[in-house]
């Protein structure tokens, strides 16, 4: 893959993404305008009340007294200049808050997805190689049970076990605020805080990868070139590493790209329980608070991330599959 190729391809992907992103932004904006009440209602609810003149003032201040299409036009005009606007709930620029939260979310989702992916792929491959054996049944059933357990249930149970009963892990938050760790201590502290939320998130998605990988390996193992390799005298390990894995990974990699936004959605509950300041929880709060600019910002950011992730999975795919060339 040459750099220019990759860049041209990136540009093409970007151009293709533009209409989708516009569709998403306009659609979300109009959709949210259908919701009863607006951010002023939410703010007033938070404050514990306010009088009518005060409320009218706020609405005018926030431009919420304008017709919807004017609001939309203003928003889109700003967005084109990458101005996400102002969050009336936080009284901060949306971009600043998104930036703060992005790190946590990427860290949580990055680790969960990569754990889910690598463990799922590993277990799936093992299960497939011992298809229909006890090992396979155990792995598959366990995967299904994790999948079938609602994430909040799993999270609460983990907190009970690891934090309250055993006292091994901190209950919630991103770091021990009062300890003022620095350097490696801080890193270790953050890692400790992220263990349970990461586990809760990845255990759900693990089973997706596990099942897909198992099916994929079974399918690839039946292909002619694997038979050829056997006829060459290759052993099982060699078959797995050199011939099956790479081909079997292809559909799994595709899922990786598709699943990113699903995981972001799934993290709403986990972030809420573990009090993690991520985008999922922020999105939920923004819906509840009718913080339009914030929610639109999140969805825009999410769209961008999805575009980037899909681009990266395409690159990975092209790297894995010699038949596909980026043009």
């Amino acid at each position: 893959m040459q750099l220019t190729q990759v860049l041209t391809y990136a540009l093409r992907r970007l151009l293709q993404a533009v209409p989708v992103v516009i569709l998403i932004m306009v659609g979300t904006f109009l959709l949210l305008k259908l919701a009863p009440g607006d951010t002023v209602d939410a703010l007033v609810g938070d404050m514990g009340g306010a009088d009518a003149a005060y409320i009218a003032r706020l609405r005018a201040e926030y431009g919420l007294d304008q017709p919807v299409w004017v609001q939309l036009g203003r928003y889109m005009a700003k967005l084109i200049q990458f101005d996400f606007g102002w969050s009336f709930v936080y009284e901060q620029p949306v971009a600043a808050i998104l930036w703060e939260r992005l790190g946590t979310t990427l860290m949580l989702m990055g680790t969960s997805l990569s754990l889910a992916f690598s463990i799922g792929v590993g277990l799936g491959a093992i299960a497939a190689r011992r298809a229909y054996s006890l090992t396979d049944n155990a792995i598959s059933t366990l995967g299904l049970i994790f999948y079938a357990t609602p994430s909040f249930f799993l999270s609460l149970m983990m907190i009970l076990l690891f934090s309250v009963k055993l006292g091994w892990l901190p209950v919630s938050g991103l770091s021990d605020v009062a300890a003022f760790y620095t350097g490696w201590d801080h890193v270790i502290d953050v890692v400790l805080h992220l263990i349970m939320p990461t586990a809760a998130l990845s255990l759900i998605y693990l089973s997706f990868y596990l099942r897909l990988m198992r099916a994929s390996v079974l399918e690839v193992a039946d292909l002619d070139f694997v038979r050829t390799a056997r006829a060459k005298g290759a052993g099982e390990t060699r078959l797995m590493i050199h011939h099956i894995m790479r081909n079997a990974l292809l559909p799994v990699v595709t899922l990786l790209g598709l699943q990113f936004s699903t995981v972001l959605g799934g993290s709403v509950v986990v972030e809420t329980i573990f009090a993690l300041p991520g985008l999922g929880q922020l999105a939920y709060q923004s819906v509840i608070q009718r913080d339009m600019n914030m929610l639109m910002g999140i969805i825009f950011l999410c769209a961008i991330i999805v575009v980037i992730v899909n681009f990266l999975t395409d690159l990975l795919y092209a790297r894995l599959d010699s038949r596909i060339a980026l043009k």
Partner: protein
């Protein structure tokens, strides 16, 4: 000149269940020598994004900013005490209130606190921008600074001094004029990084995670205060997770029912925790049932009475509030001091009577046992409101009324009830803010425009009630004022425009490592200069 000497909320909450735990406060712990240093970690169930009590009047905001910014007057169990004010008085006509300000107080940035700050805050923030306060201060004409430490509030209509003083702890936080003047006040950077005069200085606000305040070494009460080095407020929205954090020792205090009732009850039986309602005497709330009187069925007093009789209030208190509550007696809770009376009509739980009354009102049971259906909107905050709504539906079903609950989030609820009036019944959790004039009267007074939350949007209008409310508000004599409010309470309990079914204070769970906690009637909002942490 009338000087105040009213004991605001002296009456103890005799029905405190966790009496044992609370008594421990006054016991051996109090005898220990206060220790300097340490970090207190406080649970916040919801994130407070605007840290300026002069812009956002809400307990959540005070919970944090109360340590950083101080009001003119605060409350103690012995009545109002001056904080940034030293004393206050009113002219006989109630049009001018003079407040003397404390000298030698500096803002955290070193600038001195003067009357200019108070005048600026009152005219630029409290009157135009602060929710609730804008009603209170609607007749405020100007604030004169006769000298740097004397502020005179000039009103065009009489302002009872009682009311002024009762409101100041919540609605009387000055901001530093030199940081706000000439800026867009709503977007001033100090709204999220407050600068005050309090015992703690703002350090850091990590959105979605925590706020940190550190010790103010230049505090006006003296070098020995505050005891703590630092306070951290952690935002943990999930109640179970918060309970686990408290149990694991990661949190020292959770106020305002930050954990579930079951956990509160559990902590009350565990060693090492104080559980109680002390410190919330200023923050009592009602669980209500609100009627839409535009519905002809509900406009019938007999139906409302029947519904009241159909509610087993004691059962609800036992199951939902775990006993930390008592039956409501109208718009003023028992914490309302002199303005409160329990000499009102009551409606005992009697489902048979309720059914009979509904029959009489012309609503016989249909073939499916249903007399009529109601669409009910529960307020979306708190454990109580949800369970109370479900209990309401359960109880109504027993007397033949089918209640469909429309779950909605905050904007949906406020819109549905207060703007669109799209409901038959609603329930909420509504706070009494130490004086009926600035809180619960809005429930009964007609004339607020559609869209005003927590106001009488129920389609109920009574000229008599409106007149009584207006008179009570303008009444300067405390005794007459109390009598006026007693009359209002009686009328409200007869007409039942709203059922003030249950009154309950908030409940806190506190680690016994903390000392001097919950020692004022609005403790979570107070400055905690004397709070200390055991090693």
């Amino acid at each position: 000149m009338i000087t105040t000497s009213r004991s605001a909320c002296g009456s103890a909450w005799g029905w405190l269940l966790a009496g044992a735990a609370v008594s421990a406060l006054a016991g051996p712990a109090a005898a220990q020598e206060p220790r300097h240093g340490g970090t207190a970690i406080i649970h916040m169930p919801s994130e407070q994004r605007i840290l300026n009590p002069a812009l956002r009047a809400s307990t959540g905001v005070y919970n944090i900013t109360g340590k950083i910014m101080e009001p003119l007057i605060d409350k103690s169990y012995d009545g109002p005490v001056g904080v940034l004010a030293t004393d206050w008085s009113s002219t006989d006509d109630g049009l001018h209130i003079t407040v003397n300000l404390r000298e030698g107080v500096n803002w955290h940035d070193g600038e001195p606190f003067t009357c200019d700050d108070v005048a600026f805050s009152a005219m630029e923030l409290w009157k135009p921008l602060l929710n609730y306060s804008s009603t209170l201060q609607q007749y405020l004409e100007s604030v004169d600074c006769t000298d740097p430490h004397t502020a005179v509030f000039n009103y065009s209509q009489p302002m009872p001094l009682d009311l002024f003083v009762a409101a100041m702890p919540d609605l009387g936080h000055p901001v530093p004029k030199h940081l706000y003047e000439g800026t867009d006040i709503m977007r001033n950077e100090h709204n999220t990084a407050p600068v005050g005069t309090g015992p703690f200085k703002f350090v850091e606000y990590k959105r979605g995670q925590y706020v940190i305040a550190g010790r103010n070494d230049d505090y006006w009460r003296g070098k020995e205060y505050p005891y703590l080095d630092r306070i951290v407020w952690r935002f943990i929205p999930d109640k179970s997770a918060a309970a686990a954090a408290i149990e694991a020792g990661e949190i020292h205090e959770s106020g305002f029912n930050g954990v579930s009732m079951a956990d509160i009850e559990r902590f009350s039986k565990m060693d090492g925790f104080d559980v109680g309602t002390q410190g919330y005497e200023n923050n009592v709330a009602h669980s209500t049932v609100e009627f839409n009187h535009r519905n002809p069925i509900l406009a019938d007093l007999k139906v409302r009475q029947a519904i009241y009789h159909g509610l087993d209030i004691d059962y609800a208190i036992k199951t939902i509030m775990r006993g930390y509550a008592k039956p409501g007696r109208g718009p003023i809770p028992s914490a309302g001091g002199a303005n409160y009376t329990d000499d009102v009509t009551t409606y005992a739980y009697d489902p048979e009577l309720a059914k009979k009354m509904l029959d009489e009102a012309g609503h016989p049971e249909g073939p499916d046992g249903i007399r009529f259906k109601l669409r009910h909107r529960p307020a979306p905050w708190g454990e109580y409101t949800q369970l109370w709504a479900e209990y309401f539906a359960q109880a109504m079903k027993e007397i033949g009324i089918e209640v469909e609950i429309l779950t909605n989030d905050a904007p949906g609820f406020l819109n549905g009830v207060y703007r669109d009036h799209d409901f038959d019944t609603a329930n909420g959790w509504h706070q009494f803010r130490s004086d009926p004039a600035v809180s619960t009267m809005v429930w009964l007074r007609s004339g607020s425009p559609a869209g005003t939350p927590w106001s009488n949007q129920f389609g109920w209008q009574s000229d008599e009630m409106d007149r009584m409310i207006d008179e009570a508000q303008a009444e300067l004599d405390p005794d007459q004022r109390a009598a006026d409010y007693h009359a209002i309470q009686k009328l409200a309990m007869e007409e039942i425009p709203v059922i003030f079914a249950i009154e309950h204070p908030f409940i806190s769970v506190t680690s016994q490592k903390l000392h001097n906690h919950h020692n004022t009637p609005r403790w979570n909002s107070s400055s905690w200069y004397d709070l200390w942490l055991e090693k």
